[in-house]
């Protein structure tokens, strides 16, 4: 490939960076409205942390939407199950969680996150094989059956752990804030941003630097042609569904820690937000999903601070504005 490697200097197609600039422009635009720089930094960090957590939960759904053309309203079940599994791991490790050492906290959080991902991923595999496989290509049935799956999962959690909120305290070392001048930045939000960035970068690396990633990107655009090249896209579907479910489970644990509580309907409650992110970002686009999640979180946080009465509808308004500007989302990948 030496001859071709030399062509790396050839002009590439210009990248569409306008959507990337949107969160930056929005943050700068609200700075004079917020007034206090410290409040603005706190709100911006809160937005980024919330955005990262939503991204982790939504990234799998956008790929499932884009690649498999499946309207999975049951995605919230994986979030709730992940949160409960994380709680089940963290409760017996309470002494590690409450310790002031970050390393001890991480020793508790790591297995909680990994097990939540494993169980949600396995549940996702069963969900795909049992519920979704029979209704590929039938959107109305997909909505009905995945909604049904979500309800069954929620009711199973109610039956097992009851309807009450289950407290999930933040680990000792992640409580409180870093104080820089008069700016307070919550420690857990920094962790959430770091995990979100790791997931984002890892997803981009897999999608752009591996053959499996190429197949996923190609499959999102044209499943039929991927099969005509000799690849079994059904296996890819299952793999993507499992990874998407596992990420939702991880997001569930992180969201539970963020809110310091878990409850059976938390996944269903988050679904509207997640669907808005997926639609704003463009079906199948991980980059669009990332920017969409940050925008949604910014609008929720800035909107809640500046115009509390508007907070209830702010994300719907954001979606309307984005879709009027780009009807297929920020970075449309599929033709659907």
């Amino acid at each position: 490939m030496s001859e071709l490697a030399a062509d790396a200097a050839l002009p590439k197609a210009p990248r569409d960076i306008v959507p990337v600039l949107l969160p930056i422009a929005l943050a700068l635009a609200v700075l004079p409205l917020v007034g206090s720089t410290s409040s603005w930094v706190t709100l911006t960090v809160a937005s980024l942390a919330m955005g990262m957590m939503i991204f982790i939960m939504a990234s799998g759904l956008t790929l499932v939407f884009g690649l498999m053309d499946v309207l999975n309203f049951g995605h919230g079940a994986f979030i709730a199950v992940g949160a409960y599994v994380g709680t089940l791991v963290l409760v017996p490790l309470a002494s590690w969680v409450q310790a002031d050492s970050l390393l001890t906290n991480i020793a508790a959080l790591l297995p909680a996150g990994l097990l939540a991902m494993a169980v949600s991923g396995a549940l996702g595999a069963a969900f795909e094989r049992v519920l979704i496989l029979p209704v590929y290509g039938q959107h109305l049935k997909q909505i009905l059956i995945t909604m049904g799956g979500l309800i069954v999962a929620e009711q199973a959690l109610y039956a097992l752990w009851g309807p009450q909120l289950i407290p999930l305290p933040l680990p000792g070392a992640l409580r409180g804030s870093f104080i820089i001048g008069d700016v307070a930045i919550a420690k857990y939000r920094v962790l959430a941003m770091a995990v979100g960035l790791v997931v984002f970068v890892a997803t981009l690396l897999v999608l752009n630097r591996t053959k499996v990633g190429l197949l996923i990107r190609a499959g999102v655009e044209n499943r039929e042609m991927v099969e005509a090249l000799g690849y079994r896209i059904r296996r890819l579907f299952l793999g993507v569904f499992m990874v998407g479910s596992a990420l939702a489970g991880l997001g569930g644990v992180m969201w539970g820690l963020y809110r310091e509580q878990v409850h059976a309907s938390m996944g269903g409650d988050l679904m509207i937000l997640i669907f808005i992110v997926v639609i704003i970002g463009g079906l199948g686009s991980v980059g669009g999903c990332f920017i969409g999640a940050i925008l949604v979180a910014m609008v929720a946080n800035y909107g809640g601070f500046l115009l509390p009465k508007l907070a209830l509808v702010s994300n719907i308004l954001l979606m309307v504005v984005i879709l009027m500007w780009r009807p297929r989302g920020l970075y449309p990948v599929t033709n659907r």
């Binding site: 655009e221 042609m225 005509a228």
Partner: protein, 240 residues
Amino acid sequence: MSDLLTLSGVHTHIGRYHILQGVDLIAREGRTTMLLGRNGAGKTTTLRTIMGLWPASAGTITLAGDRVDALSTPDIAARGIGYVPETMAVFSDLTVKENLVLAARSGPLDEDRLAWIFQFFPALKKFWLSRSGTLSGGQKQMLSIARAIVEPRKLLLIDEPTKGLAPAIVGALIDCLAEIKRRGATILLVEQNFRVAQELGDQVAVMDNGRIVHHGDMAALAADTALQEHFLGLSLEAHQ
């Protein structure tokens, strides 16, 4: 020359429409078989049925003696078929290089073969790292064909490669397909352009209403204007 691909009494239904109504077709090894006919005659459906994209509802399809009509599309492709659809179907979010990397199923891209492809399609080298969605229609067609030939294939199914392209690009495509043919490839080529069919075809099959209505040597059809009138002209009139 042995028969590489054989379709016997193939029927295909798409929903409630009965598109292929008993297609009998042979593509001989090392030869180029042209599939001609008016729009809607069933040419594209024939190729898609061979690929398993629309499964045959009756009849048999054999490739090198083995039945393939019950196989899935990936299994059919893995038997050594390269497919160039009418829509080109390049992956527009992927670069030219990434499109070809995906098409090379058996391993890394073969540099010598790429150099050979670039002789015919230099634009692909020029835009190697560009997203294929930014290519022109002709360049996309080149990429679509390059994807099918990036590795040696037993059989190439090519659907209207010259459709909507500028004459200069059509010339490059003809040169490329002629060279592929000289290298001994077996090609089943759907084409509306009779001049292209004449230049490339060894055998010809004419379709109408989901059936093969004529099968023979391309040279014989090219030399016989009455026969052309009968099979191509007649079928046109019948649907005007």
